[in-house]
């Protein structure tokens, strides 16, 4: 599903965010991308969204080289790659329902589809009772579930989560990752960048560890670090 071939990304000032990364992630995999801040996790995700271009090497999604995707087609790529962030990125003036339906509206889906999909996905994340609440009225965990609902409502084949538990208390974090696990079970590839050791150790998924832009470990059913 996702292939990185000798990908290097150098930012201005000769900073190597990714250094010769080669990696395959299969369909329906669940991968934890771990490593300290500045290890290249965010760059990895930005490359998949084509927010950044690799300095050298190729990134493939479903056998398409992202370098071949024309600028005006980027939106169509992003519809296939759902995205969840540490800071939720919800619109404060829209309700929970509207925040999710928004993702369908902007892709031009007919009203009938929006009216079926949105309640469905909000039920999946367990927020059916808060459709009319505004983001400010929700806890961090609930906000992140709205954001996951929004990322998933398009049924993308890939879901990226960049530190989704970063702003959430530990008990809620487990719920969030369990939700991602359920989404993964529907056939969606999930990549979660995190440095939350407890979570990684608890779920025993494939772990790819980055340090200074290089992959230093790729382990099926792994744990966070060597020591733990």
């Amino acid at each position: 599903m996702i292939k990185f071939r000798r990908v290097t990304k150098v930012y201005q000032g000769n900073i190597y965010a990714l250094d010769d990364v080669t990696l395959d992630i299969g369909k329906q995999e669940f991968v934890f991308l771990v490593g300290p801040t500045g290890s290249g996790k965010s760059t990895f995700i930005k490359l998949l969204l084509k927010e950044e271009e690799p300095t050298s090497g190729q990134v493939y999604i479903a056998d398409t080289n992202l370098a071949d995707i024309k600028k005006w087609k980027i939106p169509y790529l992003r519809r296939k790659v759902g995205c969840v962030f540490q800071d939720f990125k919800l619109l404060p003036q829209k309700t929970v329902y509207e925040n999710v339906s928004y993702a369908l509206e902007v892709t031009g889906k007919p009203r009938r589809i929006i009216e079926t999909y949105v309640p469905e996905v909000l039920k999946l994340v367990g927020l059916s009772h808060k459709l009319d609440a505004y983001p400010d009225e929700l806890s961090g965990g609930e906000q992140q579930r709205v954001s996951i609902a929004r990322a998933f409502v398009n049924r993308p084949p890939i879901l990226l989560a960049d530190e989704p538990t970063g702003n959430i208390d530990p008990s809620m974090s487990v719920t969030i990752v369990k939700l991602l696990e359920r989404i993964n079970a529907t056939g969606t590839t999930v990549i979660m960048a995190t440095h939350d050791q407890d979570i990684v150790n608890m779920f025993k998924k494939r772990v790819v560890e980055l340090r200074n832009g290089r992959i230093i470990r790729d382990q099926a059913r792994g744990v966070y670090g060597h020591g733990s």
Partner: protein, 301 residues
């Protein structure tokens, strides 16, 4: 598409509410430029109409006489004119009468009158026709006569048609037209710039939302549409202002002018409709040009 349209409309109107003062300014300047355009177009049109009307209505020509002709020659010319069936009446104005009239007309300008030596003014016949359409026929017959003076500049007989008055009106309207055009273009440019600024503000105040739209895969055009509509809407409202003021001008000024000109129809309903249409199109153009200018620079993937 119906869903989309409502979505765009909702986005545009809520954005305009947020930037009310600036939106108001943009609409006012767009409106002002279209008001000027409307007023100038109508005045020029009415002026041209008036000129044509006068040309058709004025049934008087004037012929100027040589200074050295005898009384007999003058009387023979007069009876020659009177015999023409097209002529209704003839009035003779002697050199002295002409000078007195001239002095009366310019009595405020004593300096200029002092400059006059002797009497440079010619004697003339004012000839009224039974119908304005005879002006040319009569004039061409008179052009043969020796008694009539020759214009040293053109080498032609000095016969004045009402066109000469009309040409004065036309000179005025073309001056209004030229000045008006310059003012309209200047205001138009300012209007485009102002619309562009309002759209830029709207983009800025919604940059977070735009970021999220891109994230969930909205196409650039989808993101641009509400802003485009906002600009077009501002231009449209400006056009409506222009039309309203033009119509007020019509009922307040042009109708009076028409009444003064024997109820001639100077500005027709068809012209008003066409003018309104043009104002709306130009308003929409100003709005979309302003938006496009802002969007080109501020929304990129």
């Amino acid at each position: 598409m119906a869903v989309n349209f409502m979505y765009f409309l909702k986005e545009s109107t809520s954005s305009m509410r947020r930037n009310m003062a600036l939106t108001f300014a943009a609409i006012m300047v767009t409106g002002l430029s279209l008001i000027i355009l409307g007023a100038v177009s109508m005045l020029v049109h009415a002026g041209n109409g008036l000129a044509t009307h006068v040309k058709q209505r004025v049934d008087e020509i004037r012929v100027f006489l040589k200074d050295d002709i005898t009384v007999e020659e003058r009387q023979s010319l007069e009876s020659f004119i009177r015999r023409m069936p097209e002529v209704r009446s003839v009035t003779y104005i002697s050199k002295e009468e002409a000078l007195n009239e001239f002095k009366k007309m310019y009595k405020d300008q004593a300096e200029m009158l002092k400059e006059i030596e002797g009497n440079p003014l010619p004697a003339e016949f004012k000839i009224r026709m039974k119908d304005p359409k005879f002006n040319r026929t009569v004039a061409s017959r008179l052009a043969e006569r020796e008694e009539i003076s020759v214009d040293p500049n053109t080498g032609r007989k000095e016969i004045k048609f009402p066109e000469d008055v009309v040409n004065k009106v036309l000179r005025w309207t073309s001056a209004i037209q030229r000045i008006g055009l310059v003012v309209v273009i200047a205001f138009g440019v300012v209007a485009v710039a102002l619309v562009s600024i309002t759209i830029r503000m709207a983009i800025y105040s919604r940059r977070k939302e735009i970021g999220i739209m891109k994230l969930v895969g909205a196409t650039n055009w989808f993101i641009r549409w509400p802003f485009m509509m906002e600009g077009v809407f501002e231009g449209f409202i400006g056009a409506v202002l222009g039309i309203i003021v033009s119509l007020l001008l019509y009922s307040g000024l042009i109708t009076r002018l028409e009444a003064a000109a024997d109820n001639a129809n100077l500005v027709s309903g068809g012209y008003l409709a066409l003018l309104s249409l043009v104002l709306v199109l130009i308003g929409i153009f100003i709005g979309s040009a302003g938006s496009a200018l802002a969007l080109r620079r501020y929304i990129e993937v």
